[in-house]
Each structure stands twice: as structure tokens, then as C-alpha cells.
């Protein structure tokens, strides 16, 4: 492999990290907020797919992709709130409800999304940050969507707010010990409902990125399990919003390895390289889940931890 080949792969990985990471980032941040409050919403794949469909339909009918993004966020909010409401009923298991909502969300999206497969909707514009370079592949890699920056700012905000605000404290307390929260006069169910709705809304926005920017079209095979992977990324990121961003970036970069290696002529074993993100996640999971701090950082009320 020559030096320029290594350069091509590196550029592709940076580009892939920026292009592919955003939906992972939004779903993971949403799930992070939900899990911090002590509840798991496995149904975010449904929010993601429904968000993708609603965003595309919204952009197509109104002509404004940003209205599509807002509508996607709203559709995710509704699904998340429904999950939150059902889970507060007695003896309801949040994991089972999540799986039901995954099917519900994708089913709704497929049903209402039929008329929007063929038309072409206006997409989100990218910010061309690579204009300084004469190399077209660098210029392409640095075509960054505003939602990418929104995600990073959001992660910084969440990281600060969870640690430093009254609201953050309430969410964390609800997640770590429902009994203490109740003793403080906090309505545990209400906090979790709001946290699940907020998380669902972020996942919907993540879906909008899929259909309105990259790959940038609506069809029924659009999400290949990004919503599910992002939920796993939260555990891998140990419930820290900033680590969620890093995990999403890493996952995006790893996903670019397979095609990039084939493009420079390393074509043997592409099945292995295409699986790189999953293999990578598996290894980091094993490594990180073994540590003692992993157990300490998990919200105590999570049904998978208890």
C-alpha cells in the first residue's frame, strides 16, 4: 500500500465518520437521556425510520427540508411519549414495549411512506468546509451537514446540563434510585415520560438526516439497523453524551473502511472489512464492559442492570 493509498483510506474514514455518524449520534444521545432517567427504549429504530419517512414527506410537501426535520422530531416525540406513557402503567416491561414500538414505528412509516418512494424531495444543504483544498476527495469529505454540528453542540449541552443543572440532577436521580426521587417529591413517571419523549424526538431527527442528507432518499430499506446499533453504542459509551459522539464517529469511520479499501484495490476479504464496525464495537464492548467503572456508571434503575 503506497502512501497515497493510505491517504485515500484516511480521507475516506474521516469523510465516513462525518457522513455516517450523525444518525447514530442523535439516536445515541436520545437513548442516553432516556436511559439516564432509568428506562430503556429499544424502539428507537422505529422512531428513526418513521422520522426518515416523515421528514422526506414533509420536505416534499412543504418544499422546506428544515420543516421536514422539525416534523420528524415531532413524530419521534409522539412515539417516545407513547412509549413513556405505556411503560408507566403497572407491570409493564419497557424492553418488550420497546420492541413492539420498533415494529409499530417501521410499520407506520412503511404504510404512510408508500407515495413518497418515487418523488424527489428537496434535501438539506451541506456546508462546504473543504473549499480550501484543491483535492476533490477532501472537498467531498468535508461537505458537512449542519445537523452534524447540532449533534455535537447538543452532546456538549447534555453533558453540561446532566452534571450541572437541577433538571440534570433530577433525571440522574430518577435513573439511579426511584425511591430517593420519590422521597424528594419528584414524579418518577413524569420524568421518565419526558425523558423518553425527548429521546424519541432526537431519534426522529436522526432519521431525518438519513432521508434528507445521507444517503438522502426515502425507501423501505433505508435504515439497516442504525437505530438498534445506536442503542448498543450508549452502553458502549457508558451513558456519557460526549462518549456517545466519539462512539458514533468511530462507528462511521469503521464503516467507511470496507468500500475505501476496495477502491484502492485491497479487494480480498471485503466481507470482513464490511463487518469492521460490528467487530470493532464487539471488542470495545468486551474491553469496556469488564471494567469496574462500567458497573458504577450504569444508571441503577435500568432493567438490564438490575
Amino acid at each position: 500500500m503506497s502512501q497515497s493509498d493510505i491517504f485515500i483510506v484516511l480521507i475516506a474514514m474521516i469523510g465516513g465518520a462525518i457522513r455516517v455518524s450523525t444518525p447514530f449520534m442523535f439516536v445515541a444521545l436520545g437513548e442516553c437521556v432516556t436511559e439516564k432517567s432509568g428506562r430503556i427504549n429499544l424502539g428507537l429504530e422505529g422512531n428513526l425510520v418513521l422520522g426518515a419517512m416523515v421528514a422526506y414527506a414533509g420536505s416534499y410537501t412543504t418544499g422546506s427540508p428544515w420543516i421536514g426535520v422539525l416534523m420528524a422530531g415531532f413524530s419521534g416525540l409522539v412515539l417516545g411519549a407513547m412509549h413513556g406513557y405505556i411503560c408507566k402503567l403497572p407491570k409493564v416491561n419497557d424492553i418488550a414495549v420497546g420492541i413492539a414500538f420498533m415494529s409499530f414505528g417501521t410499520g407506520l412509516a412503511f404504510f404512510f411512506g408508500k407515495p413518497y418512494i418515487q418523488p424527489t424531495a428537496p434535501r438539506l444543504e451541506a456546508i462546504p468546509l473543504g473549499g480550501w483544498s484543491s483535492d476533490p476527495s477532501i472537498a467531498q469529505a468535508l461537505q458537512v451537514n449542519p445537523l452534524f454540528f447540532v449533534g455535537i453542540v447538543l452532546a456538549l449541552f447534555l453533558s453540561w446540563a446532566l452534571a450541572n443543572t437541577r433538571w440534570g440532577l433530577i433525571v440522574r436521580m430518577t435513573g439511579d434510585s426511584a425511591a430517593s426521587a420519590r422521597a424528594m417529591g419528584v414524579s418518577v413517571d413524569l420524568v421518565r415520560l419526558l425523558a423518553t419523549a425527548a429521546g424519541g424526538s432526537l431519534a426522529g431527527v436522526g432519521g431525518a438526516f438519513l432521508s434528507l442528507f445521507y444517503p438522502g432518499s426515502w425507501n423501505e430499506g433505508l435504515s439497516s439497523g442504525q437505530g438498534l446499533m445506536a442503542v448498543a453504542l450508549v452502553i458502549f459509551a457508558r451513558w456519557d453524551p460526549l462518549r456517545c459522539v466519539l462512539a458514533a464517529l468511530l462507528f462511521g469511520a469503521a464503516g467507511a473502511i470496507g468500500p475505501a479499501l476496495q477502491s484502492i484495490g485491497v479487494s480480498q476479504g471485503y466481507y470482513f472489512f464490511n463487518a469492521a464496525p460490528y467487530i470493532l464495537t464487539l471488542f470495545i464492548m468486551i474491553a469496556s464492559a469488564r471494567s469496574k467503572s462500567a458497573a458504577r456508571e450504569a444508571p441503577g434503575e435500568l432493567s438490564i442492570v438490575k
Binding site: 408508500k114 425507501n219 433505508l222 439497516s224 476496495q262 477502491s263
Partner: protein, 367 residues
């Protein structure tokens, strides 16, 4: 128990029969043997790809007098396929079932055909063989001929001489399409090469977009593909300002600036043969395979990306294929240097159905 004999299906059947009885007088004006054609699709009918190609043909068939077309989409290649076919037969009285996805054949089409000897089944892949149920059969078009035409047009529309190919899986029909693009391009432009990236899945939009970007970054100025729904690949190429060639159905509207032409099936030719035979009460052929010589393929109308020379050469290539001019003319080497084809091969030679190599000039690997 009473309820155990009264199943939902028998209830629906009785209801349907009752409904049929009340509407019967209207039906007497129809042809002697009404054809009820049940079409089973694996994905959505409007996927800009494989399923759309079939659905477009069904739309033409719906115009034929005396025919009723019933369709079901998103039927997975599982027992669900059998259930769909059974319900088309039992509830809608379908007498011809077209199962359009590769994985439906065995065991689902075979078993359902054995159970329903009065219903005809045809399946869109060359899998039927002697000994399989006589009321089943296969139909197939050699799309690589249309990809050869893509290659000819691409070979004269490229300036970098590099054509990018996003491929799903290294199975013979995909490899034959890749190789045919190369041979088409080389027939008019000896310096042309094809670079292939395999995604490993029939439908994985994000990876297809990544693969298209990687090909464009490595210098390809024309992108084509063999994946289930080529929408993402063609749109990515258009957004990056490079040209594209289509696959399966027409993607011309997706790329107003860079579309050259595309390889398309013409399933309606086969479906009309079936409908005519049924209307006359004649037996359906068990096996139909076709290409340009029997009007079972077409290339999408040329787009803005095709140069005048490309259009001329591609039209000439189509004329050649109609008179069965061979595509694979040896000696040809694979890209590891082994001679794989000695002489000229007929375009329908069964040896080509087992293709497991990429030709010299294709950058990529099947493993």
C-alpha cells in the same frame, strides 16, 4: 366442535362465493377463460429496481381484456410466500401465479405447485428443471446484454476511462453484468477499466452511498450498479457531478444531468406470452429465457450524459445483440491471469451461467 370446522378461510371462501354468485350475471360478458394473475413481489413495487421492473410489466398486462391482476408486495422469501400464493389461489381464484423473487422457488413455489395442480406457477429465475412440477416453470432474461450496451455507451462517455460498479454479491449474474460492462466499454475504448466494489447485501443504502463515493474519489467518472434498488447509487453519482448508467428499471428521472442509459428488463414480453397462451387454453412453456434477440430487454432512453458517439455505438451494439452477436469472445483472461474463455461463446451458453470470475480489466475481487 363447531368452531373448529368453521375456519376463517372457509368463511371467507363462502363469502367470496356468495359475492361471486351475486355478481355472476356481469361476468358472463367476459372471455371464456378469465385469467386471474397473482403477482408476488419481495419488495415495494416502486423501488426503482427489480420489483418496479416487474410491476411496470403488470401495469401493461392490466390493460389486456379479460385479465385480473392481483399483487402483493413485501413478501419475504419464507413460508409467507406460500401463504400469499395459497390465499391468491383460494380466495381470489388465481390460475397463474408469478413469483418474482429468486428465493421463492424452492421449497415454496415447488410445494404450492404440487398442492395445486390446476394452477400455473412461473418463477423469475432459471431454476426449473425436468422433474419439477409440470405446472411450475421459470422465466429469465439475460440482463448482461443490456449491461454490455451500458458499457459501450459508458466507454465513449468517459474521460477518465474508469467506470465504477457498485455490486451487491459476487454471484454469476452479477459478475456477468460487471464483465459485460467491461467488454462493452473495451469494444469501443481499449483503455477502459471497470472498478467494482461489493457491498455484500442486496439492499443497504448507506453502504451503497459510501461505495459510490469511494469509487468517485478513486477517479471513476461513470457509476453503474447491480443492487436491488439503484436509487441511492444514481442519486449519489448525480449529486457528485459524475455520469451514471442504470440497472433493472428506468432511473433516468433521478439524474437529469448525468444519466447515460440503463439496462432494463422487458418482462411484459414474457407476461404477454403467458396471458395469450392462457386465453387460448394452450399450455404455458415451462422455461423461457431471453434477451435482445427475442425482445425481452431494452435500454433506457439516452440521457444528457450520453455523448453523440456513445449513442451511435450503443445503437449499433443493440442491433448486433438482436442478431445474437456474441459478447464473450475469447481468448479472455480473468483478472488473476488465467484464461477463462477460449473462443466465442453464445450469449445463452449455459457455461456462462456459472461465471465465477472477473475479467482482466476489472479491478476487484470476488472474495
Amino acid at each position: 366442535m363447531f368452531t373448529s370446522t368453521l375456519t376463517r378461510r372457509s368463511l371467507l371462501k363462502a363469502g367470496a362465493a356468495g359475492l361471486a354468485a351475486t355478481t355472476l350475471p356481469l361476468g358472463t360478458a367476459r372471455a371464456q377463460a378469465p385469467i386471474v394473475l397473482g403477482a408476488v413481489y419481495v419488495g415495494p413495487r416502486d423501488d426503482f429496481g427489480w420489483n418496479q421492473a416487474h410491476a411496470v410489466a403488470m401495469d401493461i398486462l392490466k390493460q389486456v381484456p379479460g385479465i385480473t391482476v392481483i399483487e402483493e408486495e413485501n413478501v419475504p422469501e419464507t413460508d409467507a410466500a406460500s401463504q400469499t400464493m395459497e390465499s391468491m389461489i383460494n380466495l381470489d381464484q388465481a390460475n397463474l401465479v408469478l413469483a418474482t423473487s429468486f428465493g421463492y422457488y424452492s421449497p415454496f413455489v415447488v410445494e404450492t405447485a404440487k398442492k395445486n395442480p390446476n394452477v400455473q406457477f412461473r418463477h423469475a429465475a432459471p431454476l426449473w428443471k425436468e422433474g419439477d412440477p409440470v405446472n411450475a416453470g421459470s422465466y429469465f432474461c439475460y440482463l448482461n446484454q443490456a449491461h454490455y450496451v451500458n458499457g459501450v455507451a459508458a466507454g465513449l462517455s468517459t474521460t477518465s476511462n474508469k467506470i465504477g460498479f457498485v455490486a451487491a454479491k459476487p454471484i454469476p449474474s452479477v459478475l456477468s453484468n460487471v464483465n459485460s460492462v467491461l467488454l462493452g466499454a473495451r469494444s469501443v475504448n481499449p483503455n477502459a477499466t471497470v472498478q467494482v466494489i461489493f457491498t455484500g447485501e442486496w439492499s443497504m443504502p448507506v453502504r451503497e452511498a459510501e461505495a459510490s463515493n469511494a469509487l468517485i474519489d478513486s477517479g471513476c467518472d461513470i457509476i453503474t450498479c447491480h443492487v436491488d434498488g439503484p436509487k441511492v447509487v444514481i442519486e449519489t453519482a448525480e449529486a457528485r457531478g459524475v455520469k451514471s448508467c442504470g440497472h433493472n428499471a428506468s432511473q433516468a428521472p433521478l439524474a437529469p444531468k448525468g444519466f447515460i442509459t440503463g439496462a432494463e428488463y422487458k418482462w411484459e414480453t414474457i407476461y404477454k406470452i403467458y396471458a395469450d397462451a392462457l386465453a387460448k387454453g394452450e399450455p404455458l412453456p415451462n422455461f423461457i429465457a431471453g434477451g435482445y434477440h427475442n425482445d425481452m430487454l431494452r435500454n433506457t432512453a439516452y440521457g444528457a450524459g450520453a455523448t453523440p458517439e456513445a449513442i451511435k455505438a450503443a445503437d449499433a451494439a443493440i442491433k448486433g445483440l438482436i442478431v445474437k452477436k456474441p459478447i464473450y469472445v475469447g481468448p479472455l483472461k480473468d483478472n488473476a491471469g488465467n484464461v477463462v474463455i477460449e473462443g466465442a461463446m453464445d450469449n445463452y451458453d449455459p457455461v456462462l451461467d456459472g461465471m465465477g470470475y472477473l475479467l482482466e480489466g476489472v479491478q476487484g475481487s470476488t472474495t
